[in-house]
């Protein structure tokens, strides 16, 4: 199957975006165009982000905060400027932005610090049935350490959260952890409904924004989230860097997480006092280069416009529903809401008795990258009775041609598997 590298009708803005991503111009080993439909796992990176890493290492690589020489000053300035960019990106104060490795570490940080000091036996932690393992297992461990109990906001069979019993669930609840967007089904959580009621019940709210920040305009002040966790690699940034946002008063009251260089105020052999947030939570040499490049990634996103991205993904999802529905007579089943406005660029599906892994392998031969499996939501899969699903996820650089390539791949799978 030959595919043209660009469809003629490509929107000029989209064409410019695609051209910014070097990897998208590289054919696969089979000579196919790379059709990357796995941005929910990790996003591709624009040239500017890659260049930011090169610039750092070639021009001003130095350790930060303590060096008084020129390149150390520049490194410190760019590193803290990146913090400022991240703060602006989610409408926070720069003192509320903690650099972490990824969303997973951000959530663990809250569990180890705020969680361990505030939860007691008998307190409840409220999660949802949609959570990613990274927003589930840290709370299981916290519950085991403290004797707190876990509760779950149920999801209906389309993956929509059911808030009917929310008040009862919130009774005695100290902490609510909720994903902004489900990575398996794309459903957007009703944070506007949940957060005020959680606060009214006296709970602190941790939002797992790993799939939220890349796709939706996030305003932590408007959301009134207490913590918001997200990863750079899912939003055009490098691997190894993420952010925990926390309200300043909460951060000030929390004990540190990792201890060591750079997070201290004064150290004696037997005792130490700690720096102010956010530095209190950043022990040892930070991931300087990746933090700076993450800042550049948010520049890129701002430049394209989060609203443009949202609308682009909505339109693509609608088109994908259309193309996928052609396969429904042959046994294709789409999970989650069918309404592109209720989801964020993620479609989970199964195709007849073709196992998602086999489907993904066949699509791979056509250059089409999708994910197959449990998507780190094993309990949700069990609840729904799916052993695995295939998942296509979109981002700003995807086009209708990518959806067409997916559909063509499904045709091929249909032939190979005779469905």
């Amino acid at each position: 199957m030959t595919q043209t590298l660009r469809t003629p009708a490509l929107d000029p803005k989209l064409a410019r975006i695609i051209a910014d991503f070097p990897i998208l111009a590289r054919p696969t080993s089979r000579g196919k165009r790379l059709v990357y439909l796995d941005s929910a796992a990790t996003s591709q990176k624009p040239r500017a982000v890659i260049q930011a890493l090169v610039d750092y290492y070639e021009q001003y690589n130095a350790n930060i905060h303590r060096g008084v020489y020129e390149i150390a000053e520049r490194a410190t300035a760019e590193f803290e400027a990146a913090r400022g960019k991240l703060a602006r990106f989610i409408n926070a104060d720069m003192h509320e932005i903690i650099w972490v490795r990824n969303a997973t570490e951000a959530i663990n940080l809250v569990a180890y610090t705020w969680g361990s000091t505030n939860l007691r036996a008998g307190d409840a932690i409220l999660l949802t049935e949609l959570e990613h393992h990274s927003d589930l297992v840290p709370w299981q461990a916290l519950a085991q350490r403290t004797g707190a109990q876990l509760r779950f906001i149920p999801a209906d069979e389309r993956g929509v959260l059911v808030l009917d019993d929310l008040d009862a669930l919130l009774d005695g609840c100290k902490l609510v952890a909720i994903g902004h967007v489900s990575n398996t089904l794309g459903t957007i959580a009703p944070l506007d409904a949940v957060i005020p009621r959680a606060h009214a019940a006296g709970a602190v709210v941790v939002v797992d924004g790993a799939q939220g920040a890349p796709h939706l305009r996030v305003d932590v002040k408007a959301l009134d989230a207490d913590f918001y966790a997200f990863s750079g690699h899912k939003m055009l940034g490098p691997t190894g860097i993420g952010v925990l946002y926390g309200k300043r008063a909460l951060l000030q009251a929390m004990p540190p997480f990792d201890y060591g260089g750079d997070m201290i105020h004064r150290v004696e052999y037997r005792d130490a006092t700690f720096a102010e947030p956010p530095w209190k939570f950043e022990a040892g040499t930070s991931n300087i280069a990746d933090a700076i490049a993450f800042g550049v990634a948010t520049d890129y996103l701002e430049n394209v416009g989060m609203d443009w991205i949202r609308e682009h993904e909505r339109a693509l999802t609608a088109y994908a529903f259309e193309r996928l529905s052609e396969f429904e007579p042959r046994g294709l089943a789409i999970y989650g809401p069918r309404d592109p406005a209720a989801t964020s660029g993620v479609i989970s599906f199964n195709f007849a008795d073709v196992h998602p892994h086999d489907l993904a392998s066949i699509l791979d031969t056509e250059g089409v990258c999708i994910r197959a499996g449990h998507h780190c939501t094993m309990p949700l899969m069990n609840k729904m009775g799916w052993s695995a699903t295939a998942r296509a996820s979109f981002y700003l650089y995807n086009s209708e041609a990518d959806v067409d390539a997916l559909a063509a791949g499904l045709e091929k799978a249909s032939k190979v598997f005779k469905v």
């Binding site: 008795d353 892994h357 066949i362 197959a372 899969m381």
Partner: protein, 129 residues
């Protein structure tokens, strides 16, 4: 990989041999591929150190299920100690064609479970030996 899905693979996938459960298995083991959630269970009847009967149960992709299905045919009548020594080649000979590195775990799941049953504890991954 597209060449992989030949008719006999799909046949083993859709009509797995020795699928189900034994009345009274002498040895048994079960595991899952944590990367994808595929599961395989192997149940064996052993007499005088020789595999008399075998059934497998599981769910997963064509590679894992067809590999397991074919393996059950391979090992009937084999000495249990020889089952414990089977290498990844035993599977690769069955399935007949190269498998990409990530899918190797799928192909090896059945063998790992079988070897675990034979040695009475979790065997290592045949592709990592």
């Amino acid at each position: 990989m597209d060449d992989f899905y030949r008719d006999y693979i799909l046949d083993h996938y859709r009509n797995p041999r020795n699928f189900g459960h034994l009345e009274k298995p002498d040895v048994e083991a079960e595991d899952l591929n944590p990367l994808c959630g595929d599961t395989i269970r192997m149940e064996l009847n052993v007499e005088g150190g020789v595999v008399r009967d075998v059934k497998f149960f599981g769910k997963g992709c064509a590679i894992s299920q067809a590999s397991a299905s074919m393996l059950t045919e391979t090992i009937k009548g084999m000495k249990l100690e020889d089952v414990a020594k089977l290498s990844k080649d035993a599977v690769l000979e069955n399935v007949g064609i190269g498998i990409s590195p990530t899918r190797m775990k799928c192909a090896m799941l059945g063998l790992r479970v079988l070897k675990s049953a034979a040695i009475g504890r979790l065997a290592s991954w045949p592709d990592e030996e």
